[in-house]
Symmetry: C6
Subunit: 234 residues, 6 copies
């Protein structure tokens, strides 16, 4: 089976070689756990390393703002067409009145299908699911999400879905995305010792991969990018 490397130093071994290509993967965590950054970084590094093409769909954060943030992490110097940011945020802000009259789940699905076929994107990200839900009226979420996930799985691409978890709750998703998804990467603020708060990463689930299930500390070093380390002491 072909694997997509995350290029998070040390984490591909945890995954048993990387994310199985074609998977639909949730990237979930509470506010401030770098869900967007980790997702963008995985795509960026694949574009850079092996000619992948990435489509990043941002529903609430603007192109420039997002780009600026990514540059702050050293994720620069790639052609915009190779790592394309679809700024839905901008469309929404400029066409506020039309926003509600559209079925965004359908629109997005058609858009993704077209672009993946026409432009050979092999990496797709949607940031975030909650934002997408705020634009959609789902009467039977599990059923409708089954079809959306089914569509994503049918693509010749690997998909990352940013899933927001409210602080103080424990579910990995809003509806049952965590059961529908092939993989779950869980980012967690961990209160360690007297006052320290560490960012930890865990692979909760990855179908078709023999992965480690433990928690790792996630660090970012300028010039090197993300890396994980073993948790030594609390």
């Amino acid at each position: 089976m072909e694997r997509l490397q995350t290029h998070i130093e040390g984490f591909d071994e945890v995954l048993g070689g990387g994310v199985p290509r074609g998977s639909v993967v949730l990237v979930c965590g509470t506010p401030g756990t770098m869900k967007t950054s980790v997702t963008f970084s995985i795509m960026y590094n694949n574009v850079k390393a092996n000619g992948s093409k990435g489509l990043f769909i941002s529903l609430e954060e603007g192109h420039d703002h997002l780009k600026g943030a990514m540059e702050g992490l050293g994720l620069t110097g790639i052609d915009d067409l190779e790592m394309y940011i679809l700024d839905v945020s901008k469309i929404r802000l400029e066409h506020k009145d039309e926003e509600t009259s559209k079925n965004w789940l359908d629109i997005l699905q058609k858009y993704i299908e077209q672009r993946v076929n026409a432009n050979n994107f092999d990496l797709v990200a949607i940031d975030s699911l909650s934002a997408l839900y705020s634009l959609s009226q789902m009467e039977q979420p599990r059923r409708e999400l089954f079809h959306f996930f089914g569509f994503l799985k049918s693509l010749p691409a690997t998909t990352f879905l940013v899933s927001e978890i409210s602080h103080g709750t424990e579910r990995y998703g809003t509806y049952d995305e965590d059961f529908l998804a092939d993989g779950i990467l869980y980012l967690k603020h961990f209160e360690a010792g007297i006052s320290d708060v560490q960012l930890r990463l865990r692979c909760v689930k990855m179908r078709r991969a023999k992965h480690d299930k433990g928690y790792y500390r996630l660090l970012h070093e300028d010039g090197k990018g993300f890396q994980i380390t073993r948790v030594i002491s609390e």
Copy 2:
């Protein structure tokens, strides 16, 4: 009483010899706890070892995807008719519009009845109950599930029902499946020590069997399959 061996090394002793044949067994756990794999593995090993015939009904995961995942666990080399995967997922994706007009609980019941009688399947699995519920409008769940479970118990087969538990909750089922079922196999992510997460297996309930109720660590070794070990230290 006749017993169905799980072929999870060490676990049949825990069950007092295996699952009493004819039981309806819940296999429950949060995302990533290998519910599907454990269920498939039990069926596969019986097909291989003693000529059982298995019917695996997958409501959301596609045939190829599921098959690929199972091959990754070494569950290969069996005739498709002996271990038949009913890919409801595919039917749903191809006939999305007709999906809601059907009473899937009835359809599935008739299908299972027919196939068990015609093809002598003695092992049946439904993956998952939540997916089934998303396709059914149950007005009085406990009543309707009583009849569904009653039907399953009337079959000359042993049934496994995959039951999804949301992270952060503690119930074994959505409605009262855990009281209706004959057995409950509970898969749990257990946070052990500083950062380790172990997969544990417990038999919560097994009617007509004198079973151990404790937690065991569940491991998978290539070439050997699933096995349990005693929990030594945390």
Copy 3:
């Protein structure tokens, strides 16, 4: 006051001599805590020891299935008329369509009244309350249950009501059965040590009896039946 012995070795002393005859007793616990077995065993042993006559009303588990399970516990060799199992489960499965048109709370009440008078049953069990509720539309549960419990208390019999507790909750009943009942026997899965799960029994409440309120470990030994032991260490 006359006492009904539970024949759970050691437990009658805990109850101060046994259950006061004529009481309505809840037997409650989460799935897998042997509520049915303990209830059946108490009735069986009284039938065997002192010529009691027991009426066991099973709303969801079939006669043969239940009988098989009880035989596995060594509860055999008694005339069916002395320990009569009313298989409501079978009636329901065979007459599914008529099920909802009946007021089962009334039907059961009339049936019990008739049989207790005609056949001199002095022990009655209903397994389970939740199943009964699934068949009844109670608009004012506490009021209607007061009258049902009032009826049971008026019988020349001791009654056991199996009450299901969902894992993760703490209430002894669904409505206020625990306040209406004369007694509460509580069965609990207790996670002891690293991985052991013990079954414990506690008498929470027993009107007209001076009982111990502590937890005891409940064990079953072939040939001897249920017995309790002091909890020594955790």
Copy 4:
């Protein structure tokens, strides 16, 4: 200020001399915490010791059943008119159909008023509030209970209201009875050590009394009745 002694050995000192006469006192606890027994015992001992007259209103437990239970605690040998049990339970069972057409809160209020005036009852108990609520349709509970409590406070009597707390919750009442009441006696099952469960008593609140707020162990000894002891070790 005149005080009503509880005759629970040791507890009147905790209350700073007893319950201020004229108070409305909640006696609350989960099932099996002897709320009825403690309430009855307080009334009984006052009737016996100093010529008080008690009116005990039982909404769900029958006269004979209650009387039997109290005799088991040694509370015997008092004229029925001095310690009068109003068996509302019996009225309800015999007139089930009329039950719902009555406003029991009003009926009870008129009954109590009449009897306190005519028969000089200086002690009144209602067992229990939840049972009373099941017979009343209160649209604005706090308002209606204010008037009911106001009525009780206007009586030349001390009132005890049995308040049921579901296991697993922490509130002292269903609505805001705990704020409306003058006093709260709290009975609690306390899990001590490995398996012991003790009954503890605490005075949470007692207006116009300088009371101790701590927990005491509550014991009952034949021939001596209730007594409290200091909690020595857990």
Copy 5:
């Protein structure tokens, strides 16, 4: 800035000199935490010490009952006009039928305005907010309470609002009074050691005051009144 001393020995230092005059202060706690007594004591001691005039509005507890309780704390010997108790409880009991036809939030506001202006009350208390809410239909609580608090802040008086917290919950108010108020005094039953329950006092919030945020033990000594002490050990 002018300060109102609480005359709780030791607590004015905790508040950095006392409560800033003109503040609206919540006094909150579960049942039995002496909310009324502490509030009354603060007003009483100011009336006695420096010629303040206090208006205490009691919505549920009668004048005589309240007065009796306060005398038990040694709060005696003050002219009724200097420390005026408005017994709304009595009005309600005598005019039960008219009660619901009135908008008590408006009535109270007008009454307070008139009396503060005419009689120069510089201290106002409302006991309690929950009782007030039971008499008012607030459709948009936060909005309506903003205006009520705004009115109170506009008065040339310092206001205390008794806020009831149900046992087992943690919020300081029912709606968002805790954000609207200038100050929060929090009274808490603290279970210390094996069985002791202490009353503790904490200033959670006091706008315009540099206050200590810690917990202090609150004691009452005859002849000396309330005082706080440091918590030494648990």
Copy 6:
């Protein structure tokens, strides 16, 4: 990237240099955690130090009251036009009847836009979001807040939004403001040791900034203002 210094001594290093200019930052905490003071202080110190111009929109606290509180913290001596307090509280109190007929979210948005453009405010604060919500009917909060946040992000200003957290809950916002915001400053009452309650500050999230995620103790010293210190022991 240009940074806005908080002038909380020690905290700008924690933020990696300060808040990225143009960010929308939540300042959240339970009652009494100095949300308003910290927000005002950041704006004040920038006005004083580098000629910034601040617009502070107060929805519930009056101008004079707020000003008084800030002076108590030593935040004095600045021209009102440089640090302008929009007293919406006053407008509301004086025009109570018109209040509900207005769409305050729109009004505020237009007001802010106009003033930022006309008067070159580069710092904007809204105190508080909950108060704003009480004045707005949002049918699809996440959608409408996306547009409001989008507007704020489009301004040539840095925005602070005071977010109230009820005691006992853990979410950083009411709807999903914590995901929409660029940054989250979290103020927390921390119960340390036997009875001490410390105020702690944590940067949960700050897009485009490499910040420390740990907790710091927040102190205020007269003449020096706010400062943080490492947490040394509990």
